[in-house]
Symmetry: C2
Subunit: 534 residues, 2 copies
């Protein structure tokens, strides 16, 4: 086959770039993801546009930076005007479906303002950010409707109940909890329980069930074209894995934390504020790291095993040969590096993501199994899909760029820097500690070939030399020797802000057409609006 | 009365700030607009956000900069997500109506994508950018549906037909044309005809009919609260006035063109490209200026006379005392200054607008009849209305600020600079002459207390010292002595770009609430999502 008919867009949640063997992890072997890398291209400098789920994913689904799509944090609705994957692919006859997580939040207020009918296909499509929800599983079902208004109706919860896993919240009580010596439920939310096995057998766990649904979907489609977003919630917390994955890795295999030496610590006020968060304080304790990280590794290993099953299936039915496959993550996890937990700061453990792309066509043979050091971004996925499928580029909206030329061994002009954003307005502890106004909590990362520059509202910038200091231990933000580098990167940020796409309701082609008709008129007529004529 | 019940938002089209006697015109006496200024505050440094109709007006109606609302030129649809005046006022029970022009373009593609019902009240409201179209009159009815899809159905055209003014296009053939010696129609589009009277008696002209409709609306409302956007198409071209206004002013009363001395000319490439436009070449000829400008003045005089009638009416029925009145313009007109015609460049004749605000409350007595030199912007109107009416500020969307504190003699912290934008992607002649890509045609004005800085994609900036050179005849864009000033203003632009409101689907109050609930939990419960807990 020489054409791409389908797209498989695989995303893990909270998977660090360096927790895969193809990216160099010495103990965590991920042969199936490595097999995809050997059959495609592995990008070593891929960045997410935002280091938490909602912003990152909306960048993936819209092909636009966070400042453009406006979803600055989780639970923020996407504007109705934003086009998503399905808007681009569905009109071309490509069934565009979701299996797993999107973290989409319905924009109910906007729909009400426009008097859209709740439950209509258009409303549902907006609520699912353009996907057909073949199986939606956001994987977070605490007792609050902000996070999932369909909590009671979650298909995974139904599935568990059908299997006899009862209770008010089977997702929590079975799939994300362990059991104590006396049968008591030990919550997976509590990191002290991370070393215990989940109460659920592996075959009913989220990762396996999600993979089952993906295989179902692909099988059902037969030869009909599709785009599937296979979006695993794991290794995202709660950090708890079903047997045997809870015990595959030992404390000995936990890598040392990456932290500045005493006296050389990062003393930036925003960084310091994040260090005071509960997860940061806990992950700064070795006891926590040693209890959590082996399980984090086990959860990744489980995903890898399941991807092996999926890839085998695709090789058996021909889909391996007519499907563009992308594997990535929405963001990483500090796991105690830099004295931080979670991911809400723009250092490499959070903002760096794995990115592996396999183009099955012969034109990509030249790069198969190679490593690519170009700066890639999460927003590149959608333009890559459009390019692979031969669809128009929509360059008045899309801010990413197609990776296909790189996969085909070409030397396209490329970006000089990647940008990520984070808005800590939503993090009341950090914001209040810093005393910043809600409109003044923006952080920007500008990552060039060599440097990473972090800009803050109201604070000095930070600078790291990733060539000399890949672990970002030495902040050059005040070093006079690097003043010119900082200025250069501030200039990049300025250029980036100026270049954001802010004319999304009219295509460039239409602008060109109108501009000419308006001023020159049709060949046989006068100008449409004859202004300025004597 | 001590409360404001109503808002009258008067806008002229293409009215230069300096073509009113209260702003210093020596020959054009506008006693009624001056009377408003004497009863309110006259802002001497008010700027539009964009120098053509669509962008400027969408900034007025959304309270947001052009880069935020995305309407970069005429005929570009407003995104459906943008809130407009009516969205803010109507829920408070304030009838929000239009009499005259908005230059709104229906966002039909977006409405179809959401399956909105054509003709539904929500669709109509979006098409009218939030106004109830009591009488819409965009004033441009050439033979092309881009500019007015309701051409045949325009109420003003119907009115003319009802009076016996027939023909394919009565707006053009009667209201905007003169008559030759042999009864032939001489088009108002041709500036050579500007000195002739329109074929229509004054009482049926656009300016009078528009005023009639405003008086009808205000009368109908009685004591019920309202916001009326009274939006005159004049003195916008076609430059042709009904008798006696076509002959009120003589060639002797045309002020000399403001132009650099030979050898000291502005040599910026973008400026030079605009100088090559047909209207610029024509307005550079004295013959054209002398034929057009007296009529331009006559059209303004007619507006002033009509406003006198309206203000008398409001004083007679009590509305003068409970209505906030704003008088402004959407942009100016070069009229040959700087060798330019039209308005598509960011010098003072185009970007400076008159702005007069009358707050009827006693708290504003302290400033009545005074002049205010604060930098004001078109986007300030909407926040001013909300403030005057006691409605919430919507500060996650609105980028302007209320002028009420200034009207009440307070000393609020104020902006350091005003910003305007222009995108010449739509002007094929300039763009093609410069060889710029469609995405690289943006211009920005940063106007501080003393200086004006103009930034261009791909070209050097310009700088004018408005204190020493108020006519902008000496471009300091390459003067080494002003390097620090240019850098300061580039910094302003950088700050402005960073500060644009890009989180419009969630209010600041909601962010604060969620941020606290998310991290701290309710008093009696644990954190909602117990991340990072040991």
């Amino acid at each position: 086959m020489t054409a791409i008919k389908n797209v498989l867009y695989i995303m893990c949640d909270q998977l660090r770039r360096d927790y895969l063997s193809c990216y160099g992890h010495p103990h965590l072997h991920t042969p199936n993801i490595d097999r995809l890398a050997a059959a495609g291209v592995r990008f070593t400098r891929a960045y997410t546009q935002g280091t938490i789920c909602g912003p990152s994913r909306m960048s993936a689904y819209t092909g636009r930076y966070v400042s453009s799509h406006q979803v600055a944090w989780n639970g923020v609705p996407l504007p109705l005007d934003e086009f998503t994957l399905g808007d681009y692919l569905r009109p071309a006859g490509i069934r565009t479906a979701l299996v797993g997580k999107t973290h989409a939040t319905p924009n109910t207020d906007a729909q009400q303002r426009l008097a859209m009918t709740p439950g209509s296909s258009e409303a549902e499509q907006l609520n699912e950010v353009g996907f057909e929800a073949y199986f939606r599983h956001d994987g977070l079902f605490p007792d609050d409707p902000i996070f999932d208004s369909k909590r009671e109706g979650s298909p995974y919860t139904h599935h568990l109940r059908g299997l006899g896993f009862e209770g008010r919240n089977p997702w929590h009580d079975w799939a994300n909890a362990a059991e104590g010596d006396n049968g008591e439920i030990l919550s997976g939310w509590k990191m002290r329980n991370a070393h215990l096995p989940a109460r659920i057998p592996e075959q009913h766990s989220e990762t396996v069930y999600t993979t089952d649904r993906a295989i179902d979907f692909i099988g059902e489609q037969g030869e009909q074209p599709w785009c599937l977003h296979l979006s695993y919630i794991k290794p995202h917390w709660p950090y708890i894995a079903p047997a045997p994955y809870h015990a595959l890795y030992s404390k000995d295999q936990v890598l040392p934390a990456v932290r500045p030496a005493p006296g050389a610590e990062n003393d930036h006020p925003v960084y310091n504020a994040f260090r005071q968060h509960e997860e940061s304080l806990n992950f700064s304790r070795e006891e926590v790291r040693l209890n959590v990280i082996p399980t984090y590794m086990g959860l990744i290993k489980q995903v890898d095993d399941q991807l092996g099953r999926l890839f085998d299936f695709m090789q058996s039915n021909g889909r391996w040969d007519d499907t563009l496959i992308v594997f990535t993550s929405d963001h990483g996890d500090y796991l105690g590096d830099h004295f931080l937990g979670e991911k809400e700061f723009l250092l490499e453990p959070a903002v760096g993501v794995p990115l592996i792309v396999r183009d099955p066509r012969p034109q990509a043979d030249v790069t198969r199994g190679t490593v690519d050091e170009h700066l890639a971004e999460t927003i590149d996925a959608l333009p890559t899909f459009l390019d692979a499928l031969g669809l128009p580029a929509a360059d008045h909206r899309l801010e990413g760029r197609s990776l296909i030329p790189l996969l085909h061994g070409q030397q396209p002009a490329w970006r000089d820097f990647a940008v990520a954003e984070y808005d800590y307005a939503f993090q009341a502890p950090a914001r209040e500690r810093l005393g910043q106004a809600i409109d003044r909590c923006r952080m920007y990362m500008v990552r060039s070939e060599r440097f990473k520059y972090l800009a803050y509202d109201g604070y000095r910038p930070q600078l790291f030399d990733l060539q000399e200091d890949p672990q970002e231990l030495h902040d050059l933000g005040t070093d006079p020797a690097f003043a010119a580098v900082r200025e250069q990167h501030q200039g990049y940020l300025f250029d980036w802000l100026r270049g954001l796409k802010r004319r999304t309701t009219i295509s460039n082609q239409e602008i060109d057409l109108r501009g000419k008709r308006f001023r020159y008129g049709e060949p046989e007529t006068e100008k449409l609006v004859p202004i300025g004529v004597w």
